[in-house]
């Protein structure tokens, strides 16, 4: 029941209200005119700082 309430009362309204944001983040639009879909990573060399301490 708690899971259902979470879905109905939190996820669905937040999802509907923020739909453009979420869909942009997921890249849900096929853009035939775009040159590339690659996302550039600009964090440089992998270092010890990339190994996080907590999950």
């Amino acid at each position: 029941v708690r899971t259902r309430l979470l879905f109905i009362l939190v996820v669905t309204p937040l999802g509907v209200l923020g739909r453009p944001l979420w869909r942009r983040q997921l890249g849900l639009t096929i853009d035939r005119g775009a040159e590339t879909y690659w996302r550039r990573r600009r964090d440089g060399e992998v270092s010890a700082a990339d190994l996080r301490r907590s999950s």
Partner: protein, 606 residues
């Protein structure tokens, strides 16, 4: 400096230990628990790795988990938000588990590894672990790196460059856009299990024609010239449901998914050929763009899609890279090696080390091994009847049996790490025999008749038999059998369809020649496996053929054998003629048949 790497909680859990830059041990949990693709915490694999390294858990300098649960949860949450109000079915299955503690995997791991200082536990990104497993153990000082799989946290594909022992991530594609998930969708649609049946789709593809490829490009995936892509989510179910494809997908390809274990139709073969052709095209575009961007002439690969050896062969032959090295445990199990190497290099300052000027994987022979006394003790306890042979006699007697047409279980040295058996936990046969493929598939492996077998070939003979000039020690490159070893096909061969072509001999080594004349090649090197190399040499002396059929030592649904006991059970439960464990030779006719167990139904079909 000793670092433990762990992959777990999705599929193919594994552990690996790296000490001062050297990969000491690595193993998958399934081999110990005898449960295929076991996803539970790899308790047994960790224990084995620590024993092999001579370390206790509290003596480790670092423990690195192969992915970041926080990012994975972020991806799940964003996906549910992006598709709400759809997605309830998936949400109700996934979210309680995450809210119930899965997100705090640090606590779970610390509970499993008693005595570990919490400050020593670290988490690497999934694709960074894959990239590390591809570049650090490779034989190259500098190389482009490509990792491709279904999905890690967000990333599904990553490009990187490794130079002078450092790794820099360049670009990524993110969920839900994924070559691995596209391939998995067709694996599901053609009636196979995802995360294990992809290999069957690849094996089925040569029976079909890629007549659906244009539909895939027109409707399912938009691929740019640089290989980057987006999947049209209107055709897929995996973001919101519990399956891979939806009704719109089924309408596009003319019907519902094939039910598992039902008859394979021409359409299924054509679908397999189509998704394979699309995958080839995408990966070729990616690797061409990566070569141009980095200027590198060498390529390292990892991630589950890098196990697609048909595509790997095409990348090699494309010529954009002079050399291609693929991590032998390219799937998630290999993430444990990458995570351990990251910890060793980045936290412990360990060097990159290669063994004997080769790569750092020691031929992938990183699992448990058993000395001669231990083997004899275990076989005696099982009631086995065996002869103990001298070193030279082992290969001589085995080569003679193989030349006589026997199917041989070959158990030697340390177990392989990764999904392929590479001559230490293998079933071997004579590739010249026209009946060997059928015999092995139906009487020993109990698996689908269409599935091809792979050849092991003396490294020095590879270009005599196959159109391949490069080493392929991990069976991850497909190339064609040379023209002069092919035989004339019968008249009206072109009229045969699909599986009807299976039984037509196509070469002088028919048991390892697929219907399109291709073969998934393992080159055997004296430096990494001298006894297996010696066996091939002896077989060549007897037959003129330095090639053997090499398939994993297991039956369908069973993890590859790990111990002499596992090998004995498989030997007794199938129609294997001979078992060679170290220097002990066991003939089936000498054994007490009452010791055989019901083996055929002992494992759930994969």
């Amino acid at each position: 400096v000793k670092t433990l790497g762990i992959s777990a909680y999705y599929h193919d859990s594994a552990a690996a230990v790296v000490a001062d830059g050297l990969i000491v041990a690595a193993a998958q949990e399934e081999r110990f628990t005898r449960r295929k693709h076991d996803a539970r915490f790899p308790t047994n694999a960790v224990r084995y790795c620590l024993d092999a390294a001579g370390a206790r858990a509290d003596e480790l300098d670092a423990v690195v988990f192969y992915e970041r649960p926080d990012l994975k949860f972020n991806r799940l949450a964003t996906t549910y938000l992006g598709f709400a109000p759809n997605g309830w079915e998936s949400f109700r299955h996934a979210i309680p588990e995450w809210l119930g503690g899965k997100r705090r995997q640090d606590r779970q791991i610390l509970a499993e590894l008693e005595g570990i200082d919490p400050a020593k536990l670290r988490f690497a990104e999934h694709h960074v672990s894959h990239a590390a497993s591809a570049y650090f153990p490779s034989p190259f000082d500098s190389a482009a790196v490509l990792t491709v799989d279904g999905v890690g946290e967000w990333a599904t594909t990553t490009t990187a460059v490794g130079r002078d022992g450092t790794l820099t991530i360049l670009n990524e594609l993110c969920f839900p856009h994924s070559v691995g998930l596209l391939y998995a969708a067709f694996t599901f649609y053609t009636g196979f299990r995802i995360n294990s049946g992809e290999y069957k789709v690849m094996g089925l593809a040569p029976y079909g024609e890629p007549r659906f490829a244009h539909l895939i490009f027109d409707h399912l995936v938009d691929v740019k010239p640089d290989g980057s892509l987006r999947l049209n989510q209107e055709y897929f179910d995996y973001c919101t449901g519990l399956t891979m494809t939806n009704d719109r997908f089924h309408d596009l390809f003319g019907g519902p998914p094939r039910a598992p274990e039902t008859l394979l139709r021409r359409r299924d073969m054509d679908l397999a050929a189509s998704v394979q052709a699309v995958t080839d095209e995408i990966l070729l575009r990616m690797t061409r763009a990566l070569a141009e961007e980095t200027g590198e002439r060498r390529l390292c690969m990892a991630g589950g899609v890098a196990l697609n050896c048909v595509t790997n062969g095409k990348i090699l032959r494309d010529g954009r890279f002079d050399e291609v090295w693929v991590q032998p445990a390219a799937g998630d199990a290999g993430g444990a090696v990458g995570a351990a190497l990251l910890g060793d290099h980045l936290i412990g300052g360990g060097p990159r080390r290669r063994v004997d000027g080769l790569d750092a994987m020691s031929g992938a022979y990183l699992g448990p091994g058993f000395d001669a006394d231990e083997v004899e003790r275990r076989l005696t306890a099982l009631g086995a009847r065996y002869d103990v042979l001298a070193e030279a006699e082992v290969t001589e007697a085995t080569a003679a049996a193989l030349a006589d047409g026997d199917a041989v279980g070959w158990f030697q040295g340390r177990m392989e790490f990764g999904p392929r058996a590479l001559g230490n936990r293998s079933i071997l046969g004579d590739p010249r025999s026209p009946s060997m493929q059928k015999q092995l598939n139906l009487k020993i492996k109990y698996r689908e008749s269409f599935r091809p077998f792979a050849p092991s070939v003396l490294a020095e003979d590879v270009s005599e038999w196959f159109s391949l000039e490069a080493p392929s020690p991990y069976m991850l490159i497909v190339a064609d059998v040379r023209d002069h070893h092919r035989v004339a096909l019968p008249e009206r061969y072109d009229e045969l369809q699909g599986l009807d072509r299976l039984n037509v001999p196509r070469s002088t080594i028919p048991a390892v020649t697929h219907v399109d004349f291709s073969a998934r090649i393992q080159t055997v090197h004296r430096e990494t496996n001298p006894r297996y190399h010696e066996l091939l040499t002896r077989f060549k002396e007897k037959t003129g053929c330095g090639v053997l059929v090499n398939t994993s030592f297991n039956v369908r649904g069973e993890p590859i054998v790990c111990t002499p006991e596992d090998a004995w059970r498989c030997f007794m439960g199938t129609e294997l003629d001979l078992l060679v464990v170290g220097s002990c030779l066991l003939r089936k006719r000498d054994q007490d048949p009452s010791l055989a167990e019901d083996y055929k139904s002992a494992f759930a079909l994969d």
